[in-house]
């Protein structure tokens, strides 16, 4: 056990020395791997944030009921009382068309456009919070409310949440595919780096064999080399994603606040960060493994 530990310490120290002896190559290698890994890692960061956002918005499903533009106040009051009496609703909030107009006039950018409109283009609307959140109940209410007099349109918020969910799943698949492709690239890069390492260390390998080194002893520093280079690439990717997150945080927060959402971009979650480092090291190890099979002579 102690000897085993010693051998691994020696092998990792040797790999470190070999990496440190060619700092420029090491740096360039880490940058290449890091940029390759930063793409899926960055995608994952964005996805994790979108998912957080979607979850927050979707936490309570709502039904929006829009009246016809020319509905009278009396007709609106009629619908309101029916909505309030309906056993499926928990909360009904009237959003008068005047209020919508005022709110949008105050908003940046849109204000002038709204100001120039000849008449109020917004209808009176209700935001209904249902008691029963099951999709079937929501769907039943949607069609029932749509049948009320002077109701122009009923919108289930869960519909776009579902769409968003499907979109997120698709994006996740894309990030996964990207990760696979770039993972293969990482293995290929390490494969070549280790090939060059084997050439550089040919003399040491030969002498070590003559002095009684086992195959495991010969291979170990190369595995560490590959894994360490992968890890360095992972670190570069992590830092790149961190930098991007911090740069985007302010503009994204401002954009979200325009929509009345209090949202700030989070850095890559811890679990994803660990996954990134572990995967990067493992891929480097795998590249070294393949390269050793192919390039390390048996004698």
């Amino acid at each position: 056990m102690k000897g085993w530990l010693l051998q691994h310490r020696q092998a990792s120290a040797q790999a470190f020395r070999r990496l440190a002896s060619t700092p420029l190559n090491t740096l360039l290698g880490a940058l290449v791997l890091g940029i390759a890994l930063a793409l899926p890692a960055g995608g994952e960061m964005l996805l994790a944030n979108f998912q957080r956002l979607a979850q927050r918005i979707a936490a309570t499903p709502q039904i929006s009921v829009f009246m016809a533009l020319d509905a009278t106040k009396k007709e609106v009051a009629e619908v309101e009382s029916r909505l309030r009496k309906h056993p499926g609703t928990r909360e009904v909030k009237l959003v008068p068309r005047e209020e919508t107009l005022r709110r949008l006039k105050e908003s940046e950018g849109l204000g002038e456009v709204i100001e120039s409109l000849p008449r109020n283009p917004f209808p009176d609307a209700f935001v209904v919070v249902p008691g029963d959140e099951s999709p079937a109940a929501l769907e039943a209410m949607r069609s029932e409310f749509a049948g009320y007099p002077r109701v122009e349109h009923v919108q289930l918020d869960s519909a776009w949440v579902k769409k968003l969910d499907a979109l997120l799943r698709l994006a996740r698949l894309a990030v996964g595919l990207l990760a696979v492709v770039l993972g293969v690239a990482l293995v290929a890069v390490t494969f070549n780096t280790i090939r060059l390492q084997i050439l550089t260390q040919a003399e040491e390998v030969e002498v070590s064999r003559l002095l009684g080194a086992t195959d495991a002893y010969i291979r170990r520093p190369f595995y560490y080399f590959g894994a360490l280079q992968g890890l360095a690439g992972g670190a570069v990717a992590w830092l790149a994603v961190l930098g991007a997150t911090l740069l985007l945080r302010l503009p994204v927060g401002e954009l979200a606040s325009l929509y009345g959402i209090d949202f700030s971009l989070h850095i890559l979650p811890l679990s994803d960060s660990i996954l990134l480092f572990a995967l990067a090291a493992w891929l480097g190890w795998a590249g070294a493994w393949l390269s050793l099979i192919r390039h390390l002579s048996e004698n």
Partner: protein, 217 residues
């Protein structure tokens, strides 16, 4: 302790380097291997640590037929054999100390213990004050002594050396010969292939002559 039984060695496409060789070397001997260039001296030495495998016959080292040894067992055979190579095979990217450390690192000797043994080996060959020197900074004789320190640091029971005094001036060569004698004196079985028979003559227990791959007078 070392026995050659009807050993033949033919290199791929070449002529026979060794033919029907029978030989027995006892523990504690100091053998001088002599013969013309191309006689098969290097080949004979390489068969002992299984650097080369015989084409026929058996090479028995410490009761083990090296010729039939599995690949995975060879490293452990070699750890018991100190080798001084004709071309030295020092590593020029590390200092004297680290060159001598290599066999101990390979054998997994704990670091502190190993450091002590490396210094002891360097001391025996008179290089203790040069432990931080890089091999390029050493003279030919010093490089050869460094190679010897590396060969003996793991305390092998067999020490083989291929032309260890080639390219050295007479005084240095005599020092080297005396050094092998000293290792032999503490019980190491020594085999030296050399053209400088006379240098080793005072110390050797036996001279083995080779001619065209066969024993000769």
């Amino acid at each position: 302790m070392i026995r050659f039984e009807k050993v033949g060695k033919r290199y791929p496409g070449g002529i026979a380097a060794l033919s029907a060789l029978d030989l027995a070397i006892e523990t504690g001997e100091m053998i001088v291997l002599s013969g013309h260039s191309g006689a098969g001296k290097s080949t004979l030495l390489k068969l002992i640590p299984a650097v080369e495998r015989p084409s026929e016959g058996a090479v028995i080292v410490n009761g083990q037929n090296v010729a039939a040894l599995k690949r995975a067992a060879i490293p452990f055979l070699r750890r018991n054999i100190g080798m001084v190579f004709q071309d030295q095979k020092l590593l020029f990217d590390r200092n004297a100390f680290d060159n001598v450390m290599l066999p101990l690192a390979i054998a997994g000797v704990a670091t502190r213990d190993a450091g002590r043994r490396v210094r002891a080996a360097l001391d025996k060959v008179g290089l203790l004050d040069r432990e931080r020197a890089m091999p390029v900074a050493l003279s030919g004789g010093e490089q050869q002594r460094l190679a010897i320190a590396r060969a003996v640091v793991a305390r092998p029971s067999i020490l083989i050396a291929d032309e260890p005094t080639a390219h050295l001036d007479d005084g240095t060569a005599a020092d080297i010969a005396a050094m092998f004698h000293a290792f032999n004196q503490v019980g190491v079985t020594v085999l030296v292939a050399t053209h400088h028979e006379a240098l080793f003559a005072p110390y050797m227990t036996r001279r083995i002559g080779l001619s065209r791959g066969r024993l000769a007078a």
